[in-house]
Subunit: 152 residues, 2 copies
DNA sequence: GCACGACTTTACGTTAACGTAAAGTTGGTT
DNA sequence: AACCAACTTTACGTTAACGTAAAGTCGTGC
C-alpha cells in the first residue's frame, strides 16, 4: 500500500509547522481549511498539511489570508484545473510580482536615503572633531543632520 | 532680512505635505511635534515643517513613529549635536540598513517562489492543451500547482 | 468515580496609525 | 445679532492576524 491514511491532531500539525493551534483554528474560521471531525475533535490528513503549507507559503509571498482563500476557492470551485483557472492564477501571480518589484524599489530608495543620512552624520562628526581642536562650537541640529540644506 | 517668520495653520501644513490634519495632531499627541499656541489654535513655523518632513521621511525609511520620536528626543535632550548623539544615530541608521537588507532578501526569495509557481502553472497549461488533443483528463489540483512534488 | 491532559467554543484584548463623527470655540464678515 | 469657515477636543471605530483567558467536553488510566 502506498496510500498512508495516517491522521493528525491539531497539536501535531501545529508542532510540525511551528504555528499555534489558535492560528490553525483561525485559518479554518476564515474558510482556508475544512478538516474532518470525529465528534467535536478536528482530524487532519496529508492533504490538510498541503493546505497549511500553502497558507504559510502564501504569507511568505505577501498574500493576505483573504487572498489565499480566493485562490483556494477558485481552485475548489471545480475539481480539475481548467484553463480559466490557470489564467486567473497566472494573472494573480503576475500582479504579486509587480507588487514585489515596487517594494524592492521602495526599499532601494530608503537605503539610498539612509546612506545619505549616514554621510551627513559622519561629516558632522568630523566637523565636531575639528571644532574641538579650534574651539569653535558648531550649531548642528536634527534638521542639519537628516535633511540636506537645499531640500527644504 | 533673511529671517522669514511666516507662520502656518495646521491646514496649510497638511495641504503642503499631503497629509490630514488628523495625522499632524496625532504626531503631536505622540510627542513628535510641539507647535506654539495662540489661544487654542496651533501655529506652525518653518522648523515645524522640518520636523514634519523628518517624520514623513522616517516613515518612508521604515521607522515607526515611536522610533522617530526616540531620535528626536535624543536630539532635543541637548541642543547641539554631541559625539555620543551622533554615534547613537549612526548605530540606529546601521541597524535600519541591516533590516532593509533582510527585507530585500525576503522579497528576493518570494520572487523566486513566485517564479517557480508561474512555471508550474505554465507547464500545467501546456499539459492541459496536450490532454485536450489526446482526450486525456489531467488530475491537477492546487497542491500540484503550487508545491513541487518533492517538497512535501 | 475521579483526576488528568488534550481538545473544544466563546469572546474580549492587542498593535499602529490614523478615520470619522459629534460637539464646542474662535475670528471675521455682513 | 447672526452666520460661517476653520479650528478645537473627545472618543469610539477600523484592519489583520492572531494572543489569551475562561469555561466546558472528551477519552483514558488508575
Amino acid at each position: 500500500m502506498t496510500t498512508q491514511k495516517k491522521s493528525f491532531s491539531i497539536s501535531e500539525l501545529a508542532a510540525e509547522f511551528g504555528v499555534t493551534t489558535r492560528s490553525i483554528r483561525f485559518y479554518e474560521d476564515q474558510g482556508l481549511m475544512k478538516p474532518e471531525r470525529k465528534g467535536q475533535t478536528r482530524i487532519y490528513y496529508s492533504h490538510d498539511k498541503v493546505r497549511l503549507k500553502l497558507i504559510l507559503r502564501g504569507k511568505r509571498l505577501g498574500f493576505s489570508l483573504a487572498e489565499s482563500r480566493e485562490l483556494f476557492d477558485l481552485w475548489d470551485e471545480t475539481p480539475s484545473g481548467s484553463e480559466r483557472q490557470l489564467n486567473k492564477m497566472l494573472e494573480t501571480l503576475s500582479a504579486k510580482q509587480a507588487q514585489l518589484e515596487q517594494q524592492m524599489q521602495d526599499i532601494q530608495m530608503a537605503k539610498q536615503e539612509l546612506d545619505n543620512a549616514e554621510m551627513r552624520c559622519r561629516s558632522a562628526l568630523k566637523e565636531l572633531m575639528q571644532g574641538k581642536e579650534t574651539g569653535q562650537g558648531s550649531a548642528h541640529n536634527t534638521a542639519d543632520m537628516l535633511i540636506s540644506s537645499k531640500e527644504i
